[in-house]
Structures are given as C-alpha cells and as structure tokens.
C-alpha cells in the first residue's frame, strides 16, 4: 500500500487504528517527491521536517501555495522580487493547520503573484501536468494541484482570485474549493486582489475537502473581511442525498469555445445527479460575457496597489542601476521593480495603474465596479430560485505548455467560467467529472449562495459517490 496515494481521512483512520505512523506517511510523500518532482516541479521550495509529532490529531503532509506566509520559511509568490523573504509571522490558516498537527511539505509553485492560469509565469519555471507533462497544470495554484494529483502531498492549500484553485484542480483531476469570500481568513495570504482572494482546500476527494475546510475556516480578528458566522461541521453535509434540490444550468456557459468533450462530460454529470433526484433547469446569467473584462479591471487595479509595496526598501530583492553614479530612491524603486517582476506581473500592474489613474478612473475602474454589481445581481436572482448552479469549470482541458503565454486574452479566457464566483463572492467547487480522449481530466463546477458550502459538498459528494473519476491516479 502506498500511503501517499491515500486520502487524508483514510490515513487518519489508519493512524487511529495504529496501522501506520505520521512519519511513515510523511516519508512516503518525500519518496514520491524524490521520484517525480524533477518532471512535475510542483514545489517552489521543500521544507526540511526533521521532527514529526507522533500524536497530533491531523498529521497530514500538506503543500502550501507559495503566497501563504509561514514563519521563517521563504515565501515568495514565486517571484524574483520576494527572493529570500522569510515572514516573521504565520498566516492564520497556517496557525490553524499547526494546531491540527499538519506537516508542511513545502511551498507549492504558482504563477508569479497568482497572475496566470497555467503556472508558467513562476520565477522558478513552470509546473508540469502529472497527467501529461507536455501540458500545463492550470493556475495559478498549479503547484498545489499538481502536488496533490502527483501524490506529492496528501492535500494542499491554494488561493483563488478568479479561478486559481478550481481551474488547475480541473486540469489536474482533483477537488478544488473556493470558499465564500470571508469564510477563510486572508491574514497572511499575500494579496493579489483583496476583494476577490480566498484561500481554499485542494484535495483528492470531497470528504477531504470538507475536512480541510473544517480546519481552516472561521472568523479571524485579524481579517476585517472574515465572517463571524459560525463554522458548521462540513463533513455532516456529506449525505449522498440531492433529492429535490433545484440546480440551474446557465445557458451562457454552454457557448462557442466550450470544448465538445468538456461539454459532453458535464452533461453526463448532470444526468448522474438527475438520477439521484436533483431537478435541473436552464437559467440565464445574462452578464456572464462581461465577467472576464470586469475581472481584469477590478483585479489588476487592486493588484497594482497591493504590489506597490514590493519596492526594495524593506525586504526581498533590492537592485541599484549599475550605470548611475549616484542612486536615488526612485532609481532603486524602478530598477528593483523592473528586475524583480516578470512580464505578466508588469502587464497587470500597468493595466491596474492605468485604470485607476486620473482621467481613466470612471471609464475603467468605476465602470468595472458597476458591472460587478450587475454580475452579482445575476447570481442573487438565480439563488432566489435555485439551490445551486452547475457549469463546466473551464472551457477546455489542460493546454500545451507555451501555447497561450504570448496571448494574454486567450489565457484570461480560460477563467471565463470561474471568475464570476469571485466577483460575486459566492463559494464554488470543482470536482473531476471525466477525462478527454487524450486522458486529460475534466472538471465540473458547482456554485452556491454565500456561506452555503454545505450545498456544494452535498452535491459534489453525491456526484463523487456515483463516479470514480477521482480515484484515478496520474502517477502509477
């Protein structure tokens, strides 16, 4: 039995029964990393865990996205500009994981500052898809999803700003959840777009997803935007029962550009849930086509400000122009930021700065915020009638490495189905729902109203119980 291929709840059962030890589990993960990391490159950095606590409640090896702060561990957002930055504090989710006895395997690779949908923009180089190493893993939490898919971690944390958990989960055949905005503390998550970012679990199945959310969710006095609503025991919603649930299928998500195989897999999934008693109806989310444009205004505007602090003054990279005789502080800023940021980061910072700058604010940023309202209203209306909405997670399966890197809009469009959930703050999950004929995973997205993660678990768990896509392993 290969321990690292098990899911967390199975491992915990074995530990409780005394049939394995936390150290054996960790060692099996490290072995897997030794054998596969060269091809996959899931990690930005791997930690040295010498002491494994024997009697912790959940001593599960976990991969942490490289934008979540861990005390004294290099946390770089996979960017050159944060080279060597070791935070003097733990993110709230890290504290919670520590309390549960988690073992941090390493910081998972990601698109630089989560700017991307393929994990190709990482300063450390791309992560490769465990199902086909010529393909991207998706992004930006591609290192986290790859680590889980390749059994190089039992589960992982990612962050999702416009689909950064769900889209790579879909590309890697794993379960990725973006909780409701405010469900999980963002304290210690290096911000991309503060009004959209959420940390969420990346797991091999839905049960693990519910378990990991149980650990990380909850109010945090250090995050003004975290909710005070109590955290239910999410494993209680794994009932296998969807009878009578009303689920909407938005027609705007079944459009040109949607891959036939993806479409077929999603429609088949709907049939499975119908058989379990769910009621489906076509609905309309009329502003869907504006989501990507809105997102690229709102997200980049916030990012341009969030990333302003990376200026070489306090931490990380500091560059000084070589030609100048005397360095001014502005030289230091401009050189550090030119050398430290990659192409996509510059593109987004520039775009965000532009849309906030005087003379353009109303036409871009303010307009973006207003269209965001329209998109949010679409969902508010839908959830008055429906318990959930089901869509494909991404229009395609994993594309080839390098294929979209030079065409930002085609890259941005791979998030076309996931972005709306961030703009409206609602929770959404991606679960494996099939494979293409090229053996690449396909993801099914379920969305629910704010703070109804239980609904997502209920539906996706029922679906999972009646399929075995999630049981396939990428690395034999």
């Amino acid at each position: 039995m290969q321990l690292n291929t098990l899911v967390a709840h199975e491992i915990i059962d074995l530990l409780k029964a005394g049939k394995t030890s936390a150290k054996d589990v960790y060692d099996s993960v490290i072995d897997q990393i030794k054998n596969n990391e060269k091809q996959i490159h899931a990690y930005a950095s791997i930690f040295n865990n010498t002491e494994i606590e024997a009697d912790a409640s959940t001593p599960i090896p976990i991969a942490i996205k490289d934008n979540i702060c861990i005390t004294d561990k290099e946390t770089t957002c996979s960017s050159k500009i944060l080279e060597g930055f070791k935070p003097p504090y733990d993110a709230t989710v890290i504290k919670k994981l520590r309390d549960s006895g988690s073992i941090f395997v390493g910081h998972a690779n990601m698109d630089e500052f989560a700017f991307g949908s393929s994990t190709e923009t990482s300063h450390y180089g791309p992560t490769r898809n465990p199902w086909n190493t010529d393909c991207v893993v998706g992004g930006s939490s591609g290192g986290s999803t790859a680590a889980v898919a390749a059994d190089e971690a039992i589960w992982a944390l990612g962050s999702d700003t416009g689909g950064s958990i769900r889209q790579p989960a879909s590309f890697c055949g794993v379960v990725g959840l973006k909780p409701t905005y405010g469900r999980v503390s963002r304290y210690g998550l290096i911000a991309f777009a503060s009004s959209l970012d959420q940390i969420g679990p990346i797991t091999k199945n839905v049960t693990d997803s519910a378990m990991l959310l149980n650990i990380i969710a909850g109010h945090d006095e250090n995050d003004s935007t975290s909710t005070k609503l109590p955290v239910p025991d999410y494993t209680k919603s794994l009932t296998g029962d969807v009878k009578g649930l009303k689920i909407g299928i938005p027609k705007e998500y079944f459009i040109e550009g949607l891959d036939d195989e993806v479409k077929a897999a999603v429609l088949e999934s709907i049939e499975i849930l119908k058989k379990r008693g769910a009621i489906f109806k076509e609905i309309s989310l009329p502003h869907t086509e504006y989501a990507v444009a809105t997102y690229y205004i709102v997200a980049t505007a916030e990012a341009s400000s969030n990333l302003a602090r990376f200026d070489g003054v306090q931490y990380g990279l500091r560059c000084i122009p070589t030609k100048k005789r005397k360095t001014s502080i502005i030289d230091l800023y401009e050189e550090t930021r030119n050398v430290g940021f990659g192409k996509e980061a510059k593109r987004r910072i520039m775009l965000g700065t532009y849309s906030l700058s005087s003379g353009y604010y109303d036409d871009y940023y303010l307009r973006g915020l207003k269209v965001r309202t329209l998109i949010k209203n679409d969902f508010d209306r839908a959830f008055k009638e429906f318990d959930a909405i089901i869509t494909p997670t991404s229009p395609t399966t994993a594309f080839k490495i390098g294929e979209r890197l030079e065409n930002p809009i085609s890259m941005y469009l791979s998030d076309v189905f996931t972005i709306s959930a961030n703009l409206s703050g609602i929770p959404a999950i991606s679960v494996p729902c099939g494979f293409s004929k090229n053996n690449l995973p396909i993801g099914l997205q379920v969305m629910a109203k704010p703070f109804d993660e239980e609904m997502l678990f209920r539906i996706s768990h029922t679906f999972e119980q009646n399929t075995d896509w999630h049981k396939r392993r990428a690395i034999k």
């Binding site: 930055f85 070791k86 935070p87 003097p88 409701t180 405010g182 009004s195 959209l196 003004s224 935007t225 909710t227 504006y290 990507v292 444009a293 690229y296 205004i297 341009s304 302003a308 200026d311 003054v313 306090q314 931490y315 500091r318 000084i320 360095t327 502080i329 502005i330 030289d331 230091l332 401009e334 050189e335 930021r337 030119n338 940021f341 510059k346 593109r347 910072i349 520039m350 775009l351 700065t353 532009y354 700058s357 871009y364 303010l366 307009r367 973006g368 915020l369 207003k370 269209v371 965001r372 309202t373 329209l374 949010k376 930002p408 809009i409 961030n422 703009l423 409206s424 703050g425 704010p450």
Partner: protein, 94 residues
C-alpha cells in the same frame, strides 16, 4: 489608443523602469486588453451602484488594546540593509 508615451507615464506611476522593447510590447498588449475591456461600454450602467466589496459586511472593529510588537531584531530580520536599528535606504534629499 495607447501610445508609448502613455505606457511610459503609467510605468513611471508604477515605478517600473521599462526597457525600450518592453515599452513596445506592453503598448501592444495593453492596447489589446483595453480593446477587449471596451465591451463593457455596451452596458447601460447609469443607474448602477458600484460594488467594491464582495459581500456587504460592515462595522468590523478592534478594541483599543495593546498587543505585543515585534522585537527590533525580528522586525529587522527581513532586511539586509539596516543600521542603528533602522532600515537603510539611499539618501533622501529634502
């Protein structure tokens, strides 16, 4: 629509020193993206309120209670450029 001068100005606001070839491709990229974003102009938003926060949370405070600060040593651990308990930067001439 977006000139190289525009790009330079935005780069200066963003405090990024761009090389000439970067200015060129960024002008093209931004042009394409802004052109795509233009589709929003089709919508009538005259009576729509902006949404700056995902959810309507309000009134989250902390009490005025002192919490421990980092030690000077821990605060300065993040930098290599320090002197006399302070962060060091090139001289600012006022």
């Amino acid at each position: 629509m977006i000139s190289k001068e525009n790009v330079k100005q935005v780069a200066s606001l963003s405090r990024i020193h761009l090389k000439d070839e970067e200015i060129e491709f960024l002008a093209k990229d931004l042009e394409k993206i802004l052109d795509y974003i233009k589709k929003l102009e089709k919508l009538d938003i005259s009576s729509v309120e902006p949404t700056s926060h995902a959810l309507p949370t309000k009134d989250v405070f902390r009490e005025d209670v002192v919490k421990p600060s980092l030690s000077q040593k821990d605060a300065l651990k993040i930098t290599q450029n320090k002197e006399k308990g302070s962060f060091k930067v090139p001289k600012i001439i006022e």
